[in-house]
Amino acid sequence: MLEVKNLHVTVGDKEILRGIDLKIDAGEVHAIMGPNGSGKSTLSYILSGRDGYEVTEGSITFKGQDLLAMSIDERANAGVFLAFQYPIEIPGVTTMNFLKTALNAQRKARGEEELDAVRFLKLVRSKAKPLNISDDMLKRALNVGFSGGEKKRAETLQMSLLEPQLAILDETDSGLDIDALKVVADGVNALRSPERSMIVITHYQRLLDYIVPDVVHVLSGGRIVKTGGKELAQELEQTGYAEFGADAA
């Protein structure tokens, strides 16, 4: 599904990712853990194509295609989805309208028929309900005045509606209390499938109690310094990131 080879990324003059290798097969869930500033969000942005990041070395292949050659929206339409650490406020665009526009943009790009208002509404409601997202919330401007938990639930709703091939969750747990965390985790788990891969980025092990990964990587100083099974997350919970040369978490 995804293969990252010797990826070096700079922002301005600063090298932030310093040789990342990562291979994720279809159906796998990989966790990327690491202290603040280790480059986790940078990796998520480089995968989704955000401006301002320069790849100085290395490659990324997604479903056999050169991901770095694709534009932001081409990647999205090919099935890359980033659940943002800090979702952006979109004043004046209701969540509902946004979801419809996004879904239909992707359907159109894939040569599928656009959904009409009635079918769309039915679909959205069925996906919103398990996430405790009310019609009222769908009528509000996207992310504007949303609480931390509402933002993360809205991101999860987008993901479940867009059904990506590769979902990248950047600190989807931050700012959530335990109940909200469970709701979001249930939403994510419902999407696990043999065809879908996930990268779950987190600072804390807590989220991984609910979204159990197949593989855990530790990112520190722009490099993957350790890779292991799900037990690695528990180990980190005990020892912290200090042994990896980072400041205490």
């Binding site: 989805f81 980033l82 952006i88 979109i90 004043p91 004046g92 665009v93 526009t101 996004a102 943009a105």
Partner: protein
């Protein structure tokens, strides 16, 4: 006198005898107004209220000789409000065309006429001859008083409601100047909805100069929705004077898009307590278009509320201007006055001048004003593209949303949808303009 002012004065001298009301009181008013206009000349940059729009220079580029009567067929352009059932009053080159209008079956108590028919009536005289504070912005109304040829005169008697919207269609069929005056008198408790469309129908280089004089009696209600979508080489000048008695409710929304240059002035004055004025608008401009909005609200009495939101989107090397002033007189306690203007610049060459002002002489008031000028949020564009929208659609969604927040203020559902569709068309025309 410059060339443009000279042409306008000559128009008057040539037409004076044939203008409506030539034998009555109006001729005296016209002569007085012309003399004042001739003395002041056209406003220019050193007049504070025209700081960003030098009429003296700009009018040199447009044909000012009075456009001819146009009695023949007109290519009626489709109007945004077409789908709604309305009374319709059509002016071509500023003159009433009965054959194109539909004014049948007006409710009892509603008088709707071309201007020329009401000039002998006292209510009309009172509206036309009304004193404005003669400042840099209102002074230009003199030009209209001297040259106005026709227009719409609407009077609604006490407590009567106009049962469907009245659509005033103002078409420019031939090059030249058109000077029109509209009178609206709503007596106590009367109510009406008026749509206005300003469109080119064959003319290229032309000048529209219209003044609307509005008086709302106690508890009267007027909702106006205006679309100013003139031809690419036109100059549109509108002045709207509204006076509100106690408890009256006035809403006015103006969407400006098509012309080379447009100046919209509004002067709202509260005469009685508890009245409300919502004067809102939006502009979408590209190429070398210019739009200048001047918005003056006079809280002369206590306990009135005024609210203004103007949103401007500027692409290409377009220029937008918003000058606003809310004055709260010493007696006007419990005033609620709000004025906000926001502009979105889509290109580096576009520019916006914004000058919202508050002048407060009372102490127990709630007033707020502000202005922002910004660009599209890059993070928002990334976010939308990361969900699959291409760059063009992402930008379009954000710009539409920006304008929508102003359009949301249109109380009439059908009119709001109609103007939303006009905005959507504006995007489709992208690339067509230079």
């Amino acid at each position: 006198m410059t060339g443009a002012a000279k042409t306008l004065v000559e128009n008057f001298e040539r037409e004076r005898k044939t203008l409506p009301g030539a034998s009555g009181w109006l001729d005296v008013s016209r002569a007085k107004a012309l003399a004042a206009f001739a003395e002041a000349g056209l406003p220019h940059r050193r007049v504070e209220e025209w700081k960003y729009t030098d009429l003296r220079r700009l009018l040199d580029d447009v044909s000012l000789t009075t456009a001819p009567d146009h009695l023949g067929p007109v290519d009626l352009p489709a109007t945004a409000f077409e789908a709604m059932d309305c009374y319709k009053l059509v002016l071509v080159n500023g003159r009433f065309r009965a054959d194109l209008s539909s004014l049948a079956k007006l409710p009892k108590g509603v008088e709707l006429h071309p201007l020329a028919n009401v000039l002998s009536e006292q209510w009309a005289k009172k509206l036309i001859d009304r004193q404005s504070d003669h400042d840099g912005a209102t002074r230009i109304i003199d030009l209209n008083t001297a040259l106005m040829r026709d227009g719409m005169a609407l009077r609604i008697r006490k407590g009567v409601r106009l049962d469907k919207p009245l659509h005033l269609v103002f078409l420019a069929a031939d090059d030249g100047g058109a000077h029109a005056r509209h009178l609206v008198e709503l007596e106590e408790g009367a109510s009406a909805t008026i749509f206005q469309s300003h469109l080119a129908a064959g003319a290229s280089s032309y000048f529209v100069d219209q003044v609307s004089d509005i008086h709302l009696g106690a508890d009267a209600r007027l909702e106006m929705v205006r679309l100013v979508d003139e031809g690419a080489k036109s100059f549109h000048l509108s002045s709207l004077r509204a006076e509100l008695e106690a408890g009256a409710d006035f809403g006015c929304f103006t969407l400006t898009m098509g012309g080379q240059m447009q100046r919209q002035q509004s002067f709202v004055r509260f005469n009685g307590e508890g009245a409300v004025a919502r004067v809102n608008g939006a502009s979408a401009l590209r190429g070398r278009q210019m739009a200048d909005t001047f918005c003056h609200t006079d809280h002369a009495v206590p306990a009135c509320a005024s609210d203004t939101l103007y949103r401007t989107v500027l692409d290409g090397s377009a220029t937008g201007t918003f000058q606003g002033k809310v004055v709260v007189q010493p007696d006007a306690q419990k005033t609620d006055g709000r004025q906000m203007t926001n502009a979105l610049l889509l290109s580096r060459e576009a520019s916006m001048n914004a000058k919202p002002e508050l002048e407060i002489y009372a102490d127990d008031v709630q007033c707020a004003h502000g202005s922002t000028i910004g660009e599209l949020n890059k993070d928002a564009i990334f976010y939308l593209r990361a969900r699959g929208l291409n760059e063009r659609d992402a930008r379009r969604l954000l710009v539409t949303a920006f304008l929508d927040e102003a359009l949301d203020r249109i109380a009439h559902d059908g009119a709001r949808d109609a103007l939303r569709a006009v905005v959507a068309n504006w995007f489709s025309a992208e690339g067509a303009a230079t």
